[in-house]
């Protein structure tokens, strides 16, 4: 859908046109669902969260500012929603604590980059490895590479410090590499 058309749908949606919300749903459901799926892990939870995001859209869209591209805004609303959900699951404590920023200095040239593994393993493996990550790694990684958020934005969403986010993302990537390397060695 081109910009102008999206604009039109958005302005109708802001005027409470029910059909416009239907169109937004058709357009963005896959992306929103994908994000929920990665953040929440379980398919059913992701379905629920997706419908909640869209059910609340008539209200939340009033807070939408045109300065931000709509998809980006919608994804950030979605990730907020999912993180709320996760917190409600009371995994909060386990989620993002105990990841001290100091313990970071790692030897250079340590793990083999993902790229080399990927040529052998295929993207499906990577996906599985991501899905298998603990939440504390999976969520920042998803926000970074799926929602395309900056470290600062992620830090704000997850109430973490910026160095903490950097570490979590770094560790997440390391773990994915390790999982893939392990799978390759085991195969």
């Amino acid at each position: 859908m081109d910009e102008a058309k999206l604009e039109m749908v958005l302005s109708r949606a802001m005027n409470d046109d029910a059909e416009a919300f239907g169109e937004l749903y058709q357009l963005f459901r896959p992306r929103v669902f994908g994000l929920c799926r990665h953040l929440l892990g379980r398919h059913e939870d992701a379905e629920d969260a997706t419908s909640e995001v869209f059910a609340r859209l008539p209200n939340s869209i009033k807070r939408y500012e045109k300065s931000l591209p709509f998809p980006r805004w919608l994804l950030s609303v979605t990730s907020h929603h999912c993180v709320d959900r996760l917190r409600r699951r009371q995994l909060e404590q386990r989620l993002f604590e105990a990841e001290p920023a100091e313990a970071l200095q790692l030897p250079v040239h340590q793990a083999s980059p993902l790229q080399q593994v990927i040529s052998d393993e295929g993207r499906d493996r990577v996906r599985k490895a991501i899905d298998a990550l603990p939440e504390q790694y999976r969520i920042p990684l998803t926000l970074r590479y799926y929602s395309d958020l900056s470290y600062d934005e992620i830090a704000e969403q997850l109430s973490l410090s910026r160095p903490n986010v950097a570490t979590l993302i770094f560790r997440a990537k390391q773990q994915v590499r390790r999982a893939l390397a392990g799978a390759a060695a085991g195969a």
Partner: protein, 535 residues
């Protein structure tokens, strides 16, 4: 020169290093080939991660589309399995106490077929009148589906129970308890007169000659099938010629060109084929249901004969009623029919009841069964329809003004249609049941009354809801245009008006429209309430 940490490079590749540090890294990279390579690899890694995430989105979307079809399949499949399971359960009880359970088991294949067959007969005459029977069958399927849904929910939560459930269903669903399946193939399969097959038997061959005994069911795909021996269970045949001169203790299901029964069938005979020849020496203790061209009934039939055929010759004994939709019927002088005779024919003179024939009950002949008296020629009809439309229009507009939620659901895909139909059916069945339950509690009588009133209103308004949805679907607004309800609604009303007045199918369409309309209303109100609850 010191290398930086991998974390630093990772942040650098993400474009997240603060200015001064970034410059230092850049400077180092100009001098260090190893680190340059590492950063390049990290950047490539980022691209791959982004790509994998994007791919996931697409496959997830595809998967959730596929899952609609899959869950539908699972639901229908489990509904059938549950129905079959219940059937087997009743069969089991029946073995312990023969005859005791026959009335309980509405799902058993024979009665289901009976209902379906009778429906097919009635459809020819008057569609809407057969809703009762149809609702019975659909209701059973829906019950099965609900059970299956609960089951599925349960299985989702407890995956291990899947295996147990599957095993149980399979065990219940297998044909006749303790009867395994034996399979035979070849050009000619012969079960000699001394031979006894202890299991059920499937045969796939050109010719089947069964002179011996089979203790289970026989399922045969054969050009010719001759049974001179004994079958303890059912005989199910797909073939050109079927002859039963032996004994079948169960039912006979024949999808065949010619079916000849000169032996003894202890239950029912179902025939879909060209000719049914029920010979003089033959005996069928149950019913005959036949759809085909020629039926010759010369033997002794224990219960009813229901036929949809071109020609009927009745010359034997019929224990109960004879009902036929046919072009020509002859009842010979030697025939005995204990019950009623109902003939639906094109012309009265196509029925020939010879003197001497004994008919215990009433004889009714309905000529012109394929012709409907046309009410389209009467002005009165259009007058009433116009009033109906005007009323629907006014009520629809009022309702839209008062409670737009009723019109919130859309029919924009086949899936939406199916969903609304399904929900509508549930509402159609569940509301009166709930009302009855409310009545039984006495305290709930007011609730029951309001429920019934709502239900009746819903039945009438269903057409209004469907009209609105159809109109809106056809006259889809372009973005930016002002919302309009009335014009698409009138268009929809016209379409629905024509649809429900179509000859033959109108009654059916009307029923479907009621289902879909009820569903639309329920779904619309539900999503309206949900939206409000969240907001």
């Amino acid at each position: 020169m010191d290398h930086f940490s991998e974390l630093t490079y990772s942040m650098y590749a993400d474009g997240e290093l603060p200015g001064p540090e970034r410059l230092r890294v850049q400077q180092h990279l100009t001098q260090c080939a190893a680190c340059r390579a590492q950063v390049a690899a990290l950047e490539a890694e980022n691209r791959i991660l982004a790509e994998v995430f994007r791919l996931t989105e697409e496959t997830d979307a595809a998967r959730s589309r596929g899952s609609i079809g899959r869950s539908l399949l699972i639901t229908v499949g489990s509904a059938l399995a549950v129905a079959l399971g219940l059937d087997r359960l009743v069969v089991g009880i029946e073995r312990l106490a023969p005859g005791a359970m026959s009335w309980v088991n509405p799902i058993s294949l024979p009665s289901l077929q009976g209902v379906l067959f009778n429906n097919a007969l009635d459809l020819v005459r008057e569609g809407p009148a057969m809703l009762n029977a149809l609702v019975t069958v659909l209701g059973l399927l829906v019950l099965g589906a609900i059970a299956a849904g609960v089951l599925r929910h349960f299985i989702n939560r407890h995956p291990m129970s899947m295996a147990i459930m599957a095993t149980m269903l399979l065990a219940l669903g297998l044909p006749r308890p303790a009867a395994a399946m034996e399979k035979r193939t070849g050009t000619t399969v012969r079960i000699g007169s001394q031979e006894t097959v202890n299991d059920s038997l499937t045969v796939s061959s050109d010719h089947l000659q069964l002179d011996g005994a089979v203790n289970g069911n026989v399922i045969a795909f054969a050009q010719t099938a001759r049974v001179t021996g004994t079958i303890k269970g059912d005989l199910i045949v797909f073939g050109q010629q079927v002859e039963v001169s032996g004994t079948v203790e169960g039912n006979v299901y024949a999808f065949s060109q010619t079916v000849t029964v000169s032996g003894h069938v202890e239950h029912n005979v179902y025939v879909w084929g060209q000719t049914l020849q029920f010979d003089k020496d033959g005996r069928i203790d149950g019913d005959i249901l036949m759809g085909g061209d020629t039926a010759r009934l010369r033997g002794t039939l224990g219960r009813d004969a229901s036929l949809l055929c071109g020609t009927l010759e009745a010359d034997g004994d019929i224990g109960r009623n004879l009902q036929a939709y046919t072009n020509a019927a002859t009842i010979a002088g030697s025939a005995h029919i204990a019950g009623n005779v109902d003939f639906h024919v094109k012309r009265q003179q196509e029925v020939d009841i010879e003197p001497g024939a004994t008919i215990g009950g009433k004889t009714e002949i309905f000529p012109d069964w394929k012709k409907h008296a046309s009410h389209y020629k009467e002005a009165k009809f259009y007058y009433w329809q116009a009033i109906w439309m005007a009323g629907a229009l006014i009520i629809g507009l009022l309702l839209y003004w008062i409670a737009p939620a009723f019109f919130a659901s859309k029919l924009d895909s086949g899936w939406a249609l199916l969903r609304s139909g399904g929900v509508g059916f549930l509402a159609l069945v569940a509301a009166p049941i709930a009302a009855i339950i409310a009545f039984i509690t006495l305290v709930g009588i007011p609730l029951g009354v309001s429920l019934l009133v709502l239900w009746l209103a819903g039945l009438w308004l269903a057409k209004v809801f469907v009209s609105a949805a159809v109109g809106r679907g056809l006259m889809r607004r372009r973005p930016g245009e002002l919302p309009n309800f009335a014009v698409p609604f009138i268009v929809g009303l016209l379409i629905v008006f024509v649809a429900i007045n179509l000859p033959y199918v109108g009654g059916w369409l009307s029923f479907l429209i009621i289902l879909v309309g009820l569903g639309l209303a329920v779904l619309g109100v539900r999503s309206g309430m949900k939206g409000r609850a969240i907001a």
